[in-house]
């Protein structure tokens, strides 16, 4: 009885609070409103970036929280934001000086100062539940606020890429700055929701959040306009509408709603779907306009990872044989309508990396190791060499065991590519099957038998971060968990030597490039994992109400057009009304 009473009260209260709190909202014309579609899964009210695990910046909160600087990937430039500058003040990359913009303010009028920056940094240092805790503890020695606008960070070891990886907001990485005057008063930051009223520095205020939508209204006192960073945004209201379900499900209904101009942008789509949207609504465009591949490259190129510590994947011949069984041209034809999406690299082909891949050193290694080759005969020969023979079902077997080629993946994003890979592997004699179950990620982390369809999410400008994923320090023993992205557990001291030499060097050092090429060559020779596809974000940009979306032809500030990334704030703030 009591439970029922409590529950009923909660339900009634729940309905009432949403109803009551929303009544102060004004109606806004559609031409001033930006409507975005997303599957909102974070709990209602979680606006505090330190409220892990529930908080995410992806569902509109990127418009609340800003960083010291942003990165425009397509212009390959840094966009200074809360900080006027961040400079390495020692040539061996052991000291960083940050200067905060004097006009930066929180939405409640309090100025943003070095105290907030220091508070944010110290939080990451001390709180072992925050995402950059490990990075701070690995690199940072001491931090001081020398005056109200300056922070000096001294590193324990040279950290040439710390500023870019940790302090710059781009895609989904980087650390926003949080308000000291709010969070220092809270007992347990992990349990503090934040709510709609939490002071933030971004251009929009969260005015409504219920189970169906999040509504943000423009803050006309936004500091960045007065500071000259950007002109006043034309979007007066942003609605992030919950399309329900899991991210990636039910996309045909979402596609319909885009065609009907109910949504201005949504999460990204499959190749065939976006093509049809463009056919039915001429006002919708994509990053590449009306041409394939209808999207921009994301930093998450996928490979089939394997646990290189476990039999039989520990044999380089087996890994190579698997790669030889993958027909990358057929993948392009069947899944991507001919667009060249299949890849041989563990990093995305952004300007900096494209240059690297086209360099003569890398090209000659590519010719030598032929990473993209499709040759079922050679595959067979290698497997026989490794001691396998085909059993009655046509599968490779050794000592009575077949080679598990169960591909662990995620239904929402891999449902088109994985079944095809499984069939290719099965045709080549590997015991293939699909696992889109809830244990897929866990299996990858635990290093279970099979192959893991996962991305690399590491390199953006130079190949170091991606290559570093295969360093022996991440080669954890079988039975323990590998961290995210480090599923290969590869162990090779030669490889480590190359990477360790690269670590303290600046990325434009010619010796750095030569070493990177050498490491990539080793990656190909050893076939540490099997690179499959570049990852595309095919986001529909509906220009009926808003244009000036960042595209290939309209580079804008250099950011990609995903509204859910940290740089989404810049995307929304630069949109212009269509008429």
């Amino acid at each position: 009885m009591k439970k029922l009473l409590v529950l009923t009260t909660l339900v009634v209260l729940g309905v009432f609070t949403t109803v009551v709190s929303a009544q102060s909202l004004t109606k806004m014309p559609r031409e001033d409103t930006l409507v975005l579609g997303w599957s909102i899964t974070s709990p209602i009210g979680a606006t505090n970036p330190w409220a892990s695990t529930g908080y995410t910046h992806q569902e509109g909160n990127s418009m609340l929280w800003e960083g010291l600087s942003y990165f425009g990937i397509y212009k390959d430039t840094e966009i200074p934001w809360l900080a006027d500058s961040m400079k390495y003040t020692k040539s061996d990359f052991t000291q960083l000086t940050i200067k905060v913009n004097p006009m930066a303010k929180w939405s409640d009028g309090t100025p943003v100062t070095s105290a907030d920056v220091l508070f944010t940094f110290e939080g990451q240092m001390q709180n072992n539940k925050l995402p950059y805790h490990a990075s701070f503890n690995q690199y940072v020695g001491t931090m001081t606020a020398t005056d109200a606008l300056t922070v000096v960070v001294d590193f324990k070891i040279p950290a040439p890429r710390f500023k870019f990886e940790v302090l710059t907001l781009k895609f989904d990485t980087g650390m926003p700055i949080v308000p000291k005057h709010v969070l220092s008063k809270v007992d347990n930051v992990g349990e503090f929701f934040g709510g709609n009223e939490m002071a933030h520095s971004g251009p929009y205020n969260l005015v409504l959040w219920d189970a169906n939508q999040k509504i943000y209204d423009l803050n006309t006192n936004w500091w960045a306009v007065k500071a000259g960073r950007i002109s006043m945004p034309e979007v007066k209201r942003v609605i992030v509408f919950n399309i329900g379900g899991q991210v990636g499900q039910g996309m045909d209904i979402v596609a319909q709603r885009v065609v009907k101009n109910e949504f201005d942008a949504t999460l990204d789509m499959r190749s065939s779907v976006i093509g049809n949207i463009l056919k039915r609504n001429s006002k919708v465009t994509t990053h590449t306009g009306n041409k394939p591949p209808y999207g921009y490259l994301d930093w998450w190129p996928n490979s089939l990872w394997v646990n290189t510590k476990m039999e039989p994947y520990d044999d380089q011949r087996v890994r190579r044989a698997i790669s030889l069984a993958i027909n990358r041209d057929l993948i392009n034809e069947m899944v991507y309508e001919g667009a060249k999406v299949a890849t041989i690299y563990p990093f995305p082909l952004y300007p900096g990396l494209k240059k690297f891949a086209a360099s003569s050193a890398v090209k000659s290694l590519e010719a030598k190791y032929q990473p993209g080759l499709y040759d079922p005969d050679q595959s067979e020969a290698l497997m026989k060499q490794a001691g396998f023979s085909k059993n009655s079902r046509g599968l490779w077997e050794r000592n009575g065991k077949t080679i598990s080629a169960v591909i662990h993946g995620f239904e929402g994003i891999h449902s088109d590519i994985v079944p095809i890979l499984v069939e290719m592997l099965k045709n080549a004699g590997f015991d293939g099957d699909i696992n889109f179950g809830t244990d897929a990620y866990q299996s990858m982390a635990d290093g279970k038998p099979g192959m893991y369809m996962f991305g690399h999410g590491a390199s953006l400008k130079n190949p170091y971060a991606a290559l570093e994923l295969y360093h022996s320090r991440y080669s954890t023993a079988i039975g323990t968990s590998a961290g995210n992205n480090r599923f290969s557990r590869y162990k090779n001291s030669e490889y480590d030597k190359v990477l360790d030499e690269m670590a303290p060097m600046g990325s434009d050092n010619p010796r750095f490039e030569a070493l990177a090429a050498k490491a990539l060559g080793m990656y190909w020779k050893e076939q540490i994992d099997i690179p499959i596809i570049q990852w595309l974000h095919r986001i529909p940009y509906n220009q009926t109400y808003w244009n000036n979306w960042p595209t290939q032809s309209n580079v804008s500030l250099g950011m990609n057009g995903a509204f859910w990334h940290h740089t989404g704030m810049l995307v929304v703030s630069t949109l212009k009304q269509a008429n």
Binding site: K3, L7, F171, T438, G457, G483, N485
Partner: protein, 330 residues
């Protein structure tokens, strides 16, 4: 009084059974909901914290997940008795009760209306199907309703969207209300919400009609042979009166007991229908929790449902003697 006590203890036992079964099943898989949350974010953006495993460990410790399973079981049970259903590990710091409370309004309306509608329409059709005086077309129509049973609500939902939503453009194809509507206690908004529930409602109603028609028809035929109906006929009462007072009323009684169980089954169909139509109800929360193995939320929702159904069943049994004076409470 004894009866009430017996019923209460029965409910208690049912709840205990349900919670024990659901407790251990999600633990078979060693999927960790905290790691899954990071995986979810990683898949979308490719980013996850540097030392993911250490973070997961830190969370495990603070939630007591490193204790042996039996200890966790007893901790959980004692929490339940104190009405503490715990927090969602996947969506920390939201509590399980809050998650249910926020999503319940969107499910209750739909389910309640749907179950009542299909109960009324289904039983009426079933009764008419067995009534010899009803016209031929009514009887064969009712029989074809049984074929509807074969169309799972899932498929129905898809076809309804295609036909009524897209082709004819009458109904909205998804969402709980129009984008940008501001939730308030106005007639406009309430009508908007109801308009958006029509198609999901139709999908659920058509799917569950069949069972009612079938069972009611069986009931009806049995009753027709009863003496009191023959007597009423001989008395010369009009067919309308016989149909309503003697036939329908008596046939309906046993059906009411099935109502509670029907509610339980509609909930599972609601899971899929809600995700097709993008309604943020309990079904969506549950399926998300299952995918992330957020077991505390799973327990909470299953418990909640079982308690609701068990209470409903007990209520029905309690009210039954009021409807049918022939039954005496033992």
């Amino acid at each position: 009084m004894l009866f009430v006590l017996k019923r209460l203890s029965f409910i208690f036992m049912v709840v205990w059974a349900a919670s024990t079964i659901t407790f251990f099943i999600p633990r078979i898989s060693d999927v960790n909901p905290i790691r899954e949350r990071f995986a979810e974010l990683a898949r979308l953006g490719g980013f996850a914290p540097g030392d993911l495993e250490k973070i997961v460990e830190a969370y495990n410790k603070s939630f007591g997940l490193d204790k042996p399973l039996w200890t966790q079981y007893f901790d959980y049970m004692s929490g339940v008795i104190r009405l503490d259903f715990g927090v969602s590990l996947n969506k920390f710091p939201k509590t399980v009760l809050m998650l249910i409370a926020e999503s319940l309004p969107w499910t209750i309306g739909l389910l309640l209306v749907t179950t009542i509608f299909s109960f009324i329409i289904g039983n009426l059709m079933g009764a008419l199907a067995a009534w010899p005086q009803s016209p031929r077309w009514v009887r064969s129509f009712s029989t074809s309703c049984i074929l509807f049973q074969g169309i799972p609500p899932v498929l129905l939902a898809i076809f309804l969207i295609l036909f009524f939503g897209l082709h004819l453009g009458i109904f909205p194809i998804a969402g709980a209300y129009t984008i940008g509507s501001i939730p308030e206690l106005s007639l406009d908004f309430i009508l908007d919400v109801i308009w958006h529930q029509i198609m999901p409602g139709m999908a659920l109603v058509f799917g569950s009609l069949g069972t009612w028609v079938l069972s009611m028809r069986g009931m009806g035929i049995t009753i027709q042979g009863e003496d009191y109906v023959l007597f009423a006929e001989h008395k010369g009462l009009s067919p309308m009166v016989i149909f309503r007072d003697y036939y329908l009323r008596n046939a309906l009684l046993p059906q009411v007991t099935g109502l509670a169980l029907a509610l339980a089954n509609v909930i599972t169909s609601a899971i899929v229908v809600e995700s097709i139509f993008g309604l943020p109800g309990v079904g969506t929360i549950l399926i998300n929790a299952i995918r992330a193995n957020d077991f505390l939320v799973i327990y909470g929702i299953v418990l909640f449902l079982t308690i609701a159904v068990a209470i409903l069943m007990a209520l029905v049994e309690l009210l039954y003697p009021l409807l049918d004076p022939r039954i005496k409470v033992e």
